[in-house]
């Protein structure tokens, strides 16, 4: 509330106290002659001051409660931000590990394919299996993939790109 930037907490208590004292004077001590003379103005003014005091006291209490709520939420937000950062770090590490494993597995398969290309695979195979692998190598060396089939593969690889569109 803007008024609490202008007046202090003590001023609010003072207004309230003046109102209470005014009500006591105006409504209880009216029998005293000097007070009895100004009884009505004292009653009216003290009621107005008391009301203002109650209003400001209520506002002050509410303001304090609000400030506590703000601090509570700020603490929650700070904790949540720290938690979010920690989870992000964990997720980043998990993603990096998964990607590394995927790459390594892919490279292992590619290396295995290369063993057919450079005949390395024959060094580890003996017997009838070797004859079969030699046939495979012969096929690899003598039978290139037709251009039409490569085009089908390439078109499928570019499936998500429309004509003339650059990603």
């Amino acid at each position: 509330m803007w008024i609490f930037t202008v007046i202090t907490e003590y001023v609010v208590h003072a207004i309230f106290a003046v109102g209470v004292i005014g009500i006591i004077i105006g409504f209880v001590l009216g029998f005293i002659p000097i007070i009895g003379k100004y009884k009505l103005p004292i009653q009216i003014i003290s009621l107005l001051v008391f009301t203002l005091g109650v209003y400001l006291e209520g506002g002050l209490a509410d303001n304090k409660e609000w400030e506590l709520k703000v601090k509570e939420v700020e603490a929650k937000v700070a904790k949540a931000e720290a938690e979010a950062a920690r989870l992000n770090t964990e997720l980043q590490a998990s993603l990096t590990t998964k990607n590394t494993v995927i790459k390594e597995k892919g490279e292992t398969i590619i290396k295995y394919v290369d063993r057919f290309k450079d005949r390395e695979v024959l060094k580890t195979i003996e017997g009838p299996e070797r004859v079969r692998v030699e046939e495979v190598i012969k096929y690899v060396e003598s039978c290139p993939v037709p251009k039409e089939l490569l085009d089908i593969h390439n078109n499928a690889a570019k499936l998500s790109k429309q004509e003339g569109q650059k990603k």
Binding site: G58, G59, W66, E72, K76, E83, I102, G106, L150
Partner: protein
Amino acid sequence: MKFLASILVLLSISGCALFQKPVPVVPKFPDPVPELMKKCNDLKTIEGDKVAITELLKTVVQNYTLYYECSNKVEGWQDWYNQQKRVFDNIKP
């Protein structure tokens, strides 16, 4: 006098309701994981006329690798969303 007192009491009671205001704390939108912000790579194509079946096979394996990397990112986004939503839901006062 009683009427004035009643009005003033009502005014002072309504005062508290007038002070109610929202908590001005806005949580910062969480940063995404940098790895997830990278775009998925394009699938590889094969160039040339006379290409051995092993070259085709290698490209297919490389494309599978790219697919799994991209799939990993999508699952990463799903995990990120679920985690951050859980954290955000805990903030609500």
